[in-house]
Symmetry: C2
Subunit: 665 residues, 2 copies
C-alpha cells in the first residue's frame, strides 16, 4: 500500500513511474513540519532498524549517524562523511512499526537517523516542495519490493558485463592496453573488459580519441574484441571550452549548456580546464549530448562509464577570481605571514563549492531553474541521455552503462560504481554494506573499485576484495594513477588470483540468472539476512554477510591477516569453498554460529538448505563459458530455475529463457 503526499510545488524528477494518486492530509507515521523548510520526525524504538539510503556511508542499518543527500565528488570516504556521489532518499523503518518513506526531492536533504538524539529520526530539507511516498507492507522486504515496482524496472546490462574488468587511471596508449591484455591472457586469468580512463581522450575532450596514441581506433577496438576484451571508455560531464571543438561549438550555438543568471554559459574547470556543463535536464540538450555517444559506438564500443557528473567542479571562473583576489590581499601585507590554514581551507573548498552550484541554471520546457535546487538530478540525467541515445542508435541491443552520480530513477538507465574508494580494509567492508542498500533503491548493477582506487594495495587486500567482488555484478579492479599497480598479475604467484577470478566465471550462470530474475521481478539481488529470515532476531543484526539471489549467502573475509571469520547461519547450509585449479570443498553446517577458515586463495559461499546452484567450467571470457553442461552444487534432489538469454537482446520475456535444472545425486 503506497500513499503519496504532495507538499508545495515539487520539481518533477521522474523518479517514480507508477501512477499513484495523491492523498489529502498527512501520513499516519511521524510528524511533519513545514515551519522552517520541511521536516519529518519519528521517534524510534530501541529495536527499530532503518534500511535504505542506497549509496550512503556506514552500515546496512543506518541508525546512529547523519546522512546528507547532496551528490559530491569526495574521494575520502572516511566514517565521518555524510555525502557521497548518490542521492537515494528511500528508507524503511523496521520494528515496532514498519513503513517505507521516499522523499522525492532533488536538492540537499538530511537524514538524521538517531545521531543527534539516539531515538529520533529526522528528515529535513530547505524547501517544503516535495513528494513523499509512504509505503506499508508485511515487512521491510515487502515494502522494498513495492518501492521497486513504483520506480520501474532496473537497468539490465549485456551479459559480458558480468565478466571481470581491469581498469587504471593512467593507461594512455595502445601499448598500455595491450600490456594489460597480455598480463591476463599470459597468466590465463579471465578478462572481459579493459576500462579506458580519461587519458584515452584528446585533451580530455568528450567524444574524442587521442589520435597519436590510438591510430585506427576502430581497428584497435576490433583487435581487442578478437582477443575477447571490450574497451569501455569513460565520458565526463563537462565539455571543454575550445574553439573548433565541434561538441563545444554546437552546444554554444544551440544554447545547450547551463547558463549563468546573465545568460552567459557557466564555466567550470574540470580535467580539460575550462568546460561548460550540458544542460542534462533539458530534454533537447539531453538528446543532443546522448547522440554524441554514437561517435564511439560506431567504432565498435559497447559500453561506457559516466563520470564527474555530480557535476564535479575543480573551480569556477568566479572562484578563481576570488582566490586571486585573496592571494593579492595576502601578499600586499608584506610583513604578515600567509595564513596557511585559512588558505588551505580555501583551496580545499574551491572545489565543488556550494556557491558555485547557485551560479548556473537549467532550462526545462522554457522554465529556468537554479542548479542547486535540482543538483541531485544531474548525473541521473547524464546517464539517461546516454541510455536514451542507445535506444535510438541500436534499440534491440543492451549497452554497458554505469555512472558515478545518481538519483533514484537513474537505476532504469544504468548502474553505479561507488566512486573513489581507497585501498583500505575498512572499504572492503563498506563495499559489502553498500550493496543491499543500493539494490533497495533500484541500483542492481553495482560494485566498488576492487582493491581500492586511492592509496597502495597489498596482495592480500586485493585477493580478499576480489573474493567479495566475485559476487558483485560489476566486478572491476580499478586504481588511481600514482598508486601501486594492482592488476591481478602484479603480485607474483598469479595462481591465487586466477583461482578467485575463475570462481567468478564458474558462478556466472548463477549470478547472471539471479540478477536477471531480480531485475525482471523488481526484486533484490543482494539482500540483508533479515529480509530472508524476518523471524530471526539475530539475523537482523548481521552486517557483514549477504544473501545473494535466492540460493546463497556470502560471508567474505575483510580483516587483514585473518585466517577465517565468524559466520551466522540462519538455517542449515552447505558451506562451499572454491579453491584454485577448479577444486572445491563442501561441508554441511548446522544453523547457528560458526568460525570458518578461509585461505587467501579461496572463495567461500553458503548454499541454503534444499537449494542448489549451477556452476560452469571456468573460461577466459563470458562468451566462452559453456553453459550447456552445468554442474549443480548444493543439496541432492533439488532444482534450480536457470534464466539464460543471449546476453545482448532485450527479449527477456521469452519462456525459452528459463530452464529447470535438477540435482539428482
Amino acid at each position: 500500500m503506497i500513499r503519496k503526499y504532495i507538499f508545495g510545488e515539487p520539481f518533477e524528477t521522474e523518479a517514480v513511474t507508477e501512477e499513484i494518486k495523491t492523498e489529502a492530509g498527512l501520513p499516519d507515521y511521524g510528524r511533519i513540519s513545514e515551519e522552517e523548510g520541511f521536516s519529518f520526525s519519528y521517534r524510534m524504538c530501541e529495536e527499530d532498524i532503518v534500511y535504505g539510503l542506497g549509496e550512503a556511508n556506514r552500515g546496512i542499518n543506518k541508525r546512529g549517524y547523519c546522512y546528507v543527500s547532496d551528490c559530491t565528488d569526495d574521494p575520502n570516504h572516511t566514517e565521518d562523511k555524510r555525502s557521497l556521489y548518490g542521492a537515494h532518499n528511500f528508507i524503511v523503518v523496521s520494528g515496532r512499526e514498519t513503513f517505507g518513506l521516499f522523499f522525492d526531492y532533488p536538492a540537499r536533504i538530511t537524514f538524521d537517523i538517531g545521531y543527534t538524539e539516539s531515538d529520533l529520526l529526522k528528515v529535513s530539507c530547505e524547501a517544503a516542495d516535495l513528494k513523499l511516498y509512504v509505503i506499508e507492507g508485511e515487512n521491510a522486504y515487502d515494502i522494498v519490493k513495492q518501492f521497486r515496482r513504483m520506480i520501474g524496472r532496473s537497468y539490465i546490462p549485456p551479459k559480458f558485463a558480468f565478466g571481470f574488468g581491469q581498469s587504471r587511471w593512467g593507461y594512455k596508449t595502445k601499448e598500455d592496453f595491450l600490456r594489460v591484455l597480455k598480463g591476463y591472457r599470459k597468466n590465463r586469468i579471465p578478462l572481459d573488459m579493459i576500462y579506458m580512463d580519461i587519458d584515452y581522450m584528446q585533451g580530455y575532450k568528450d567524444f574524442t580519441v587521442n589520435e597519436k596514441n590510438f591510430e585506427d581506433f576502430s581497428g584497435f577496438v576490433r583487435q581487442m574484441k578478437e582477443e575477447g576484451v571490450r574497451l569501455i571508455p569513460i565520458i565526463d560531464a563537462g565539455v571543454k571550452v575550445e574553439k573548433g571543438y565541434p561538441v563545444y561549438e554546437e552546444g554554444v550555438e544551440k544554447g545547450y549548456f547551463c547558463k549563468r543568471e546573465d545568460g552567459s554559459d557557466f564555466t567550470a574547470a574540470v580535467w580539460p580546464g575550462d568546460t561548460h556543463f550540458p544542460d542534462m535536464l533539458n530534454p533537447e540538450a539531453r538528446e543532443w549530448f546522448g547522440d554524441h555517444y554514437r561517435f564511439l559506438i560506431h567504432q565498435g564500443i559497447e559500453g561506457f562509464w559516466n563520470d564527474m557528473n555530480e557535476p564535479a567542479i575543480f573551480y569556477s571562473r568566479e572562484g578563481m577570481e576570488e582566490l586571486k583576489a585573496v592571494l593579492h590581499k595576502y601578499l600586499e601585507e608584506e610583513e604578515k605571514d600567509i595564513p596557511v590554514w585559512e588558505l588551505g581551507d580555501r583551496i580545499e573548498g574551491i572545489a565543488n563549492h556550494p556557491e558555485d552550484y547557485k551560479r548556473f541554471y537549467h532550462c526545462i520546457d522554457g522554465c529556468r531553474i537554479r542548479h542547486d535546487k535540482v543538483h541531485n538530478l544531474y548525473g541521473y540525467n547524464m546517464t539517461r541521455a546516454a541510455a536514451e541515445a542507445f535506444d535510438r542508435i541500436e534499440p534491440d541491443k543492451r549497452f554497458l552503462m554505469f555512472s558515478r552520480s545518481s538519483y533514484v530513477g537513474m537505476h532504469r538507465y544504468g548502474g553505479v560504481w561507488t566512486g573513489d574508494n581507497k585501498s583500505w580494509w575498512s572499504h572492503l567492508l563498506l563495499n559489502l554494506k553498500m550493496m543491499p542498500s543500493l539494490n533497495m533503491c533500484g541500483f542492481l548493477y553495482s560494485g566498488a573499485d576492487l582493491g581500492g582506487f586511492g592509496c597502495d594495495a597489498s596482495r592480500d587486500l586485493v585477493l580478499r576484495w576480489l573474493a567479495l567482488g566475485v559476487f558483485t555484478p560489476l566486478m572491476r579492479n580499478h586504481a588511481a594513477v600514482g598508486t601501486r599497480e594492482q592488476e591481478a598479475y602484479q603480485f607474483g604467484d598469479t595462481g591465487d588470483f586466477r583461482g578467485i577470478i575463475e570462481t567468478r566465471y564458474r558462478l556466472i550462470p548463477y549470478l547472471y540468472s539471479e540478477y536477471m530474475k531480480a531485475a525482471l521481478q523488481d526484486d533484490l539481488y543482494f539482500k540483508p539476512l533479515a529480509f530472508v529470515y524476518p523471524q530471526d532476531s539475530f539475523a537482523a543484526g548481521v552486517e557483514d554477510q549477504l544473501m545473494i539471489g535466492d540460493e546463497i549467502m556470502a560471508a567474505p573475509v575483510y580483516m587483514q591477516n585473518a585466517k577465517g571469520r565468524y559466520v551466522y547461519l540462519p538455517e542449515r547450509m552447505l558451506f562451499v569453498k572454491f579453491k584454485k585449479d577448479g577444486l572445491y570443498t563442501e561441508e554441511i553446517l548446522e544453523k547457528g554460529h560458526h568460525y570458518v577458515e578461509v585461505a587467501l586463495d579461496e572463495v567461500p559461499l553458503f548454499i541454503r538448505e534444499g537449494r542448489c546452484i549451477p556452476a560452469a567450467e571456468p573460461a577466459q571470457t563470458v562468451a566462452e563459458l559453456d553453459t550447456k553442461e552445468l554442474k549443480l552444487l548444493g543439496f541432492p534432489g533439488t532444482e534450480y530455475l536457470l534464466y539464460e538469454d543471449d546476453g545482448v537482446c532485450k527479449d527477456y520475456e521469452k519462456p525459452e529463457n528459463y530452464r529447470k535444472l535438477k540435482k539428482t545425486n
Copy 2:
C-alpha cells in the same frame, strides 16, 4: 639471550640501560646489507607473526604493511598512513624461527613487513650507523620481557592517574572548567582530572597562565583539588619568540635553542606563531627547560602532558618565504589560473616538511648534529627534561606525565597517548590493537582519546569506546574544538555513562595492581592472547581481544549497532558483565567460540579459570575508593595477590604493598 651488533658510528640514544657486550660478525638471522645505507632482510614463513612497533598503525600482527618510524604530527590516522607520532623500532618474528630485533637508530627507518613482497621482512634506513640488538628466547613473550629488562623500568604514574579524565581543546576559562566539574559531579559520574589544552596559556606561551581567565591560578588549582579534581596542563615544545618573555629571553641568552647552520636560532611557527625549539638533546638545555615546570608545580599542579614534540612545525620562516615567492610567481602570470592542486599540495606540505628538519641543529657535548639525523629523539628528550626536573623538584613524589611523540627510552620517563584520532569506530578498534604493541616497547601508561578527538561522536560510539577505556591505564575523553561536545553528560540519560565509568573505578584495585606488577617486573599489562596461550594456534590470530594483567581478558564491542560480538575463549572463563547501578551478571563459558550479547551500558570482561579479581564499590574519585573491603569476583577457592601503595611515593619494593586476597565462596 641478547646479542648486540654495532654498525658504523651510532648516535647514543640512551634507549638501552642494560650493559650488553658487542658481538663481532653478523646476526644468525636474516641478511644484512650495508651497500645502500643499511638493510636487514628476512624471508618469512606463511605462519610467521610479526609483533611490535609500539604506536604503529594497523594490527597486532604487523604483517602486510609498511611502517616508517619518523615521528609525525599527522591527525589523519587512516589505514594507509605509515608514520604516526612515535618511533618504536622493536619487532618480534614469531613462527618457524622466533627472535626479536631492536634497531636503535634515531632517524627515519622503514619496516616493510610483507608489503612489497608478502614473505619479505625488510628493515632499512639511510645511514649504516646503528645498534642492532637480536634477542632469542623461549617464545615471543619471553623475548619481549628480555627486551623490556634491557630498556629499563617503565614509568609509574601516581594512582590518581588511573581515574577518569575529561579533556577538550576549547576550555578557556575557569567557568569552562567549573562547568565540566559540575556536569560530572551533578550527574554523580566519577572524575579525577580535567585536562587543560593550549587555551589556558597566555598567548600559547609555555609556563604561563592566562591571567584574565585564571585570576589566582593556584587558588583555583586548590579549589578544584578540594572537589577531587586535578588540573593537568599541556606543555608544547616550541617556545614563543617574544621580547620580554623570560623563557624566550633566557633560552636565547644561554644558547639553548636549536640553531641554523649559520648559528642563528631556528624559527618555526606553531600555536604561538614564531617559536624556537629548546635543544632537548643538550643536557644543559634539558635541565633548563625542565626546571620551568616548577612554575606550575609550585601552583599545585601534579601532572602534565607534553605535546607538539615531534616537533610539529606549521611552517618555518624559510618555508613561508618560499610560499610567498611561489604565490608572487603565480600572480605575475595574470592570464593563467592558479594551479590549485599544486598550491594545495604545497600548503599541506609546508607543515612538518622534511627539508625543515634539515635546517636546524642540536649541540650535544660540544658536537653539532643535524636534527633530521636524530629526529625521533626529540619528544623523548622533552619528556625526559620534565621527568628529570620532577626528580629534582620533588624526588619522592610521582607526577603524571605523558607525551605525544616518543622513542624507546622515553617509556622510563612518561606514558603516551596515541594522538589526534577521530570519532570513528575503526579508531576504537585501532586503539585496542595499539595497546599491546605499545606495552611491548615499554609504554605501559597509555591510552587513546576516548570518543575520538577529531570529527563528531555519536552517543553509542562514546559509550562503546569508554567501555574499552575502562581497561586502558590512561582513561581520558578528549575532543577537538569545533567538534560535537562529548563529555559524558552531553548525550541525555547519563546513567549509561555513569555505569561504565563507575565500572572503571570498581576495577581500579585490580587494574592498578596489575599495572604496578607489570611495571615492577618489566612485564606486560596488555598482552595478545598468544603470549598467554602460546600453544593455541587460534589464539595467535585473535586481533580484537586482549589479556589484561594476569587474570582477565577483555573483548569490547567495536561495531556500530552491534548487540554483542563473537569472542574466543582459549580456556574456560567466567564471563562478567558489569551493568549500571552496581549490578553485574556472571556466567561460566567453556573454552571455544561464543557470541556474547553486550548492551550499550555494559562492560564485559572474562576472568580466567582458577582466578579471581578484586572489585571496589564505586566512588567519585580514586582517593575516595574504599580498598579495605574488596569484593572478589571469579572462581571460588582462588587467591589474588593485590599490590597497593599510597599512590604517591616511590617505595614500590615495600613488602607491605602486597596483600593476598582469598575468594572463599
